[in-house]
Each structure stands twice: as C-alpha cells, then as structure tokens.
Amino acid sequence: MRVVIDRSFVSDKTWERIEKVMSRYPEKRSALLQVLHIVQDEKGSLDFEAIKFIAKLFRLPPAEVYSVASFYTMYNLKPVGKYLIQVCTNISCLINEAEKIVEHIEKKLGIKVGETTPDGKFTLITVECLGSCGKAPAMMINKDYYENLTPEKVDQILDSLS
C-alpha cells in the first residue's frame, strides 16, 4: 500500500533530523522514540495530527504510536504552556524542601500543580528524580536544569523568562 506522507507537516530542519535518525538503526522502528522527541521539539506537544504523521512514517497504526507515546512521561499528549516547569519532589529534593519551592511557584503564578496559567505561559508539574540530587532542590524548565533552588532564585529565574 502506498502511504502518502505530507512532509510540509514539519519544517525542513525537522524533516532532516527525522531522516537522519530513521536511517541510523538496524530496524526502523527503533527510531520511534527519537522521532517523537524531534516532532515534539518543533510542535511543543504531540496532538493527534502529529501522532498520525509519525504513524505514517513508521507504517504503524496511529493507536500503536499513541500507545507507545503515552507510556513515556516526557511526551506531552496535551498542550502545555510555553514554559513547562518540572520540579523534582523525590527523596533528596524532598528533604531539601522541594515542597516549599512548589508552594512558592503555585503562589507566584496563581496555579496549582498540573495547571497552566491563563495566558498559556507556564505549566507547573512535579516530576521524579532528575539526577541532580547533589544540588537539590532541582527543577527543569523545558530542557534546562536549575539547581540549588531557593524561593528567591526561583523568582529571578521565572522573572527572566519572557
């Protein structure tokens, strides 16, 4: 069966990245997680159109791709704010007052964990250990790490984001 792939769904740069990883593995399907990352890098989240696009690339049913994507926490299957704030609350951060950091951000942004600010700028979530336990408490905003957090430092970081 001929599958028509609409390349214009992604930018040329993204398409190049996709082609590169899809030729890297002995079996094409191995590139699935990487392609999900690459498409999310461009789109911010993976909606059904994105899932269908990726499914065609791999000649898989969209439900199969969705099933894989939904297993992993880093794929945003629902839209998120421009800045996704991910605060670690696991053990080493917990005992270094990560909860205070979460509360501080909730107050500052006027949202609860799991919510997005009405202007779509920030989404706040808590996450498991980020591998920064020696510099706890730690968080990520999109792909960047921020460590040894204090409420003051969090203010500075959030205020610097436009």
């Binding site: 890297r24 593995y25 002995p26 079996e27 399907r29 191995s30 590139a31 699935l32 997680l33 990487q34 999900l36 990352h37 791999f58 099933s67 894989v68 297993f71 992993y72 926490t73 880093m74 794929y75 609350t89 696991n90 053990i91 080493s92 917990l94 005992i95 270094n96 996450v127 498991e128 250990c129 980020l130 591998g131 920064s132 336990c133 020696g134 510099k135 706890a136 990520m140 792909k143 790490y145």
Partner: protein, 423 residues
Amino acid sequence: MGEMKLLLANVDKPDSEKLETFRAAGGYERLRKALFEMKPEEIVEEVKKSGLRGRGGAGFPTGIKWGFIPKTDEPKYLVCNADEGEPGTFKDRVIIEKDPHLLLEGIAISAYAIGAHEAFIYIRGEYEYGAQVLEKAVEEAEAAGIIGKNALGSGYDIKITVHRGAGAYVCGEETALLNSLEGRRGHPRIRPPFPASKGLYQHPTIINNVETLASVPFIVDKGGDWYASLGTEKSKGTKLFSISGHVKKPGVYELVLGTPFEELLYDIAGGIREGHKLKAVIPGGSSTPMLRAEEIAGVLLDYESLQAAGSMLGSGAVIVMDDSTCIVKAVYRMAKFYEHESCGQCTPCREGTRWIVQILTRIMKGQGRMEDLDVLLDISEIMGGNCLCPLGDAALGPLVSGIKKFRDEFEYHIKHGTCPVGG
C-alpha cells in the same frame, strides 16, 4: 582505601569533554592496545580476573556476563545503560557530561571483546545536554577514525548510536530498556531467555552500566590483576558514590571499594549540617533498605559489608537524612515513586504499589489505623519475589526497612495524627 581517581581523573580539566584533552591524557591508547595487541577472549579474561562487578545496581560480575555471549556468527549488540533513574543517583552524569570519550573508549573495547559491531547508549531523556555531548564525541571520534569503520586502522568496525529515552524509570531495567530501544512501550520481558542469548532484535546482547564500561580501559591498560589489587576480597576496584541529602558537601566521589562509610560521610562529604544529628541513610539508591544512624558504625562501602549490614551497595547513591527528616513522609514519597513507575504488567506490583500508597496516604493524613503497619508488611510479603521484574522488590526496600526501623514514628503518626518532627 579512601579516594582514588581513575574514572574522575579528567573531569576537572578545562575542556575535559574534548577529544584533544582526552588524547593528551593517553585516551584511546587502551583501545589501540585492545585492537592491536589483544584477542577478544583475552580481554574477557582480563575483565574476569579484575573482579569488576556491574555498577548499575545488581553487582553481577562483568567478565562472567560477557562469557555468556554465544560464539555464533549472528549479529551481537552492546548496550550502555545510561538511564540513571534510581532516585539519589547522579554519578553516570559526570562521566557522560565531562568525560564522554572515556565512555566511548570503554564501549569500543567492550564491544570488540564480545564480538559486537554495533553499540547503543540508552540515555535518559532528561539528560538532553548529556546526549548532545555524547553525540558530539561520537562525531569527533568518527571523524578522527578512532571509531566507525576500520577503527584506528585495525580492520574492526564499531558503530555507536546515542538513543534518548523519554521518562520512564522502569526502562533502566535491562529488558524494558531493550523494548524501549526497539520503539515499544518499556515493559520488562520475561526471562529466560536472557539478553545474552536473545536480546536486542532477538540477538545476543550485553547491557552494562556507564560506570562499568568506563572502568574497562583501566583494566586493559594495567591488567586485571592490578585492578583486583584494589579493594576487598569480593569488591574490587574503585566505585563512584553520589552522596546527597543533609551533608555539607554533597557530590560525586570516587572511592576504593572497602572505604569506611564514616570516612565518606564525615571526612569526604563534610558531615551533617550544623545543629543537626544523623538519623538514617539509604546507602545505594532508593531501592536499598535504609540504615539507622548507629548501624553504619564500622560498615565498609563494599558489596559484602553493606549486605551484612542488611542493605546493599546498589548504584552507590548515598542519601543522608538528619533528625529533621520525617521517615513516614520519606517512605511515602518513595512509595509514590514506585507506584508511578510500575509498568502495570504484573498484578502484585501494579496492585501492591497502589495499595501501599493508599495506606500511607491515610497515615500521612492522620487517619491511619494501628493494624495498617502489619497490612503494609503483609503486602510486601505477597509482592516480594513474586514480580516479573526487580522493580516490585525495589519498591519494598525503603518501605519494609522504614517500618521495621522506625516503627515508633509510624505509630506516633497513627496515634496522634501529627508528625513528631514536624515533617
């Protein structure tokens, strides 16, 4: 005993991640020696002699594992486990970000030893910076003819691919990792067959931790006997310890195995924060049973000594808790972690981790019942040894040790509905 820098010898140099820095310190000469002067079997033999044990948590002897690879012509694979998801663990990240070529050298030598021409580094998705550093290092080493086709002009081909995970602790478990690397949900596989006979794409596969593979160049360089001269009778060589929590100088330190726990805690990591006293430690990552303050006296940091003390060396992730810590809350938080990360494939783990969290939630809210503690221990009896992969058992480490060693604190929560330390 004490500190010794093999793995960490380069990490503090400026531009430590660059090829020229690595080469100036003798980097890739061990690969040259392996490819030109040693047969694959000889490397396996040296690694066996070295006594090197897996640094990912289970501590299985590396040379023996490599020996399970069948001597057939089918494709073979080496997979480097850089998933580093065990709470408290942040040791592999140092090698990945600061000395990526050491890891690549270890991978190339190990792949040659097991007869693989293709290797993958499965790195946790959050370490995107680390993945970029590794990718850059692969490109540099390929461009210099060190890895890739005809590595160093030896006639041996080795291709190394960096593969990012996407946020799932269970993918650190080696068979879940293989499914994830094949583009599937990260469900652990039923064993047997073991990966050494049927692993990636159903071909023989060796999975080793970052630190394990990064130790191999030193064994090739100085010999298995030399490596085995470091450490204790059953725990050889050096090991990275990532120490976090309530110490003055948290961080990653490389110690000869058999160094006293108290030396790491007080001399190297600077001891407990001012005005506080040690309460408990988790010695090897969140899956390992906690020890009370007084239990670490005289304990050595090695596989056998920690086992004798009732815990495990695990990934070398030491989590230090002082007297401000509410043990009930700490146990609750770790239980939430395992509930969240259970892949749901088998009933004891899926249901057990859920029930544990529900009961602990009730206790945290001040609505616990005295019999809850025994119910929790009953659940752990049912789960223990009855799960498909070791995650189910891992979930019990902090829970059972927490209840057994700090039962009075749990009882206080249940009786008074509040926390004795204000946690």
